[in-house]
Symmetry: C2
DNA sequence: TTGAAAGCGGTACCAT
DNA sequence: ATGGTACCGCTTTCAA
């Protein structure tokens, strides 16, 4: 009803260049065609197919008309007509988390390079919400759906998610996951285990013997993988299990803080290095140590994981494992677009040794407490 | 061509519930209608208008059929038919920047609360790119376009942007800007000037007399406003211009680092407090000071702006001005949806005094260099 | 209450 | 090279 009233049928009213009229309806391709005195079909060709099969004179007239009228093609209409859109749908657990915003940045880069726009939705770390989002997103018929988020063990929901994605793919959709491998779809995986392992070996080589390992809930695969990788690295370096203390806590800064407090309370007992499975947690650890009168890096070494930007700004600078999140994002788009069925791409990590783990640890036989 | 081959015209083939077939076409409303033995129109009503005018028996059959078939409405088709979409388009300068990702989080919250999905695009801090994006976005006919980013003075592009947004609004679109006021559209503004002014007054009250102010390029309004606000606060507190040193640099961490180096090199000359117009810069300043053998907070006080999360994790904890970015985001959506034409909403800020500006400054007359 | 049919803004095939 | 037109999937009159 809104589209019929104020528009001329076929040049009945003289065309006017003025934009001043308060006409509430946007310019359509038909308007452009009329203005350029060509058919709808020709206008479409002129605007899309380059110069393919349109006399340049006509093409110019169409282009001019479009510009004059301020024509912007209706993406939805194009999508319905073509049966496909030019978008990539991204589901992240949390935008405000630098981890995911870095991934989002990578995806946005890659998408724009391919002429796609990104639609982003936030699952709030809930598998349930994630599922709902994917379901809704399917309705937008995006070219690609990318889901970024650590798998959280939750059988039923996971199965439904797999169904949903499978249906999506069955109808020609493309997908990529950024998380742990295990789901039957193309997956970009950060090599958490190997990164943690390398870190552990490096620390062992630097002379550290007694460790505390602070990790998050085991349901969170990212945490678990890093934890396991680290202990694997220690084992390979000949560090006994009795020289490893584990604390499980929240996967957050305050989780790290609390764990470190607990550690200090019960007595450090010769622990030389505290490894927290994320930088955020590690920073909490450092603050807790300092609050307890201990100097991180001198009294106890601290290491983290992620290499978030503030890792180099805390004091002492934090030893950590760099995760190229942005690359993970671009890689996900590449993978989804490629025809590699169900491939898993591992993104390598890099260890950065900094001041929080000085080369020479506090020598070896210090059975009771830190240096005071 | 892909849509015609494998689908039955009107129940010629018996319907099957199996999903195993490799049929590359998705389920349409027509399929659901046929399956439920009602007309297209009735199916549409059943799925949309609640129970309005559909016999409950039929409605149930439609719903069942839809569920059985895994029907997901085609958002693009709905959009073309209805002439409007259920999306809010967000243009940010940089997702990876916590400043914008916090805003994005707020917008996402508000959008989802209103049943809208967010499409996010990144302008890379380029006004030109921003303009192109808005132009492209218009094609998606979003309900709302939100642009988040400090205005950058650039006359021509700005004018074009205004045109583009005006056309968008003329065709029924809604907009909100998160930036400085000045453009003829509803705007959410962080009260940078007032925040900086309050900070300055607080610091003056704490006893600081001699200041260095490190800011970014004047083109960036956010920087300029904070700078001006700070000096206004100093002036109001009776601090003379001769007690204020200005350094202009990049609006980044390394900009802050460099500026602090310069400051140290030329001799601190009694400067008691360094104010950097963003936390990121302030953190660069702190690292530079430390690298130069000075202890931030003891030898020179440091203050920033934004209250990014790492502000409390650096040592000493950084005095700064909190900006409720997430609220700015939600407010923008609210504003766009409301019918307040061209209103400007100011978001208030909060000063947090921390260890980087201890109460008692290093007394007064120390004309040459820092304490050594 | 229901179904037929006319759009929505485009795309792409088919003649000419 | 160009125009006519069927069609994309869905919404919404308009009669029945």
């Amino acid at each position: 009803m809104s589209a019929l009233d104020s528009r001329s049928e076929s040049g009945a009213t003289p065309r006017r260049t003025r934009v001043t009229d308060p006409e509430p309806v946007s310019v359509t391709l038909q308007d452009v065609a009329t203005e350029a005195r060509v058919s709808l079909a020709t206008a479409s060709r002129a605007l899309n197919g380059g110069s393919r099969g349109v006399r340049s004179e006509n093409r110019d007239r169409v282009l001019a008309a479009a510009a004059r009228l301020g024509y912007v093609p209706n993406a939805s209409a194009q999508a319905t007509a073509k049966g496909s859109t030019q978008t990539v749908a991204l589901v992240v657990s949390d935008v405000a988390d630098p981890y995911y915003s870095a991934i989002a940045a990578g995806i946005t880069d890659a998408a724009e390079a391919n002429g796609l726009v990104v639609t982003m939705t936030v699952a709030d770390r809930s598998p349930r919400r994630e599922l709902e989002l994917v379901r809704g997103l399917r309705g937008h018929r995006p070219q690609i759906i990318v889901i970024a988020g650590s798998r959280i063990d939750d059988g039923a929901t996971e199965r439904e998610l797999i169904d949903e994605l499978a249906q999506y793919r069955a109808t020609g959709g493309r997908t990529a996951l950024i998380s742990q491998p295990g789901l039957p779809f193309p997956t970009v995986t950060v090599d958490n285990a190997r990164g943690a392992e390398t870190l552990a070996r490096t620390m062992a080589e630097a002379g550290y013997r007694r460790y505390a390992i602070i990790c998050g809930p085991n349901r969170i695969r990212t945490s678990l993988d890093r934890c396991r990788g680290f202990t694997a690295g220690l084992r390979a370096s000949g560090i006994e299990a009795e020289d490893q203390v584990f604390i499980q806590t929240q996967f957050t800064r305050s989780g790290g803080y609390d764990a470190a407090c607990e550690l200090v309370e019960r007595g450090l007992d010769g622990i030389e290095l505290i490894f927290a499975v994320s930088d955020t947690m590690a920073i909490g650890v450092m603050t807790a140590l300092r609050d307890a009168g201990l100097e991180p890096g001198r009294d106890v070494a601290v290491a983290g994981f992620d290499d978030i930007s503030s890792a180099i700004d805390v004091v002492p600078a934090l030893t950590t494992v760099e995760v190229p999140l942005r690359e993970a994002g671009t890689e996900a788009v590449r993978l989804a677009l490629s025809d590699d069925e169900n491939r898993t791409v591992r993104i390598p990590t890099t260890v950065h040794v900094r001041a929080s783990t000085p080369r020479a640890p506090t020598s070896s036989p210090a059975p009771t407490g830190p240096s005071t």
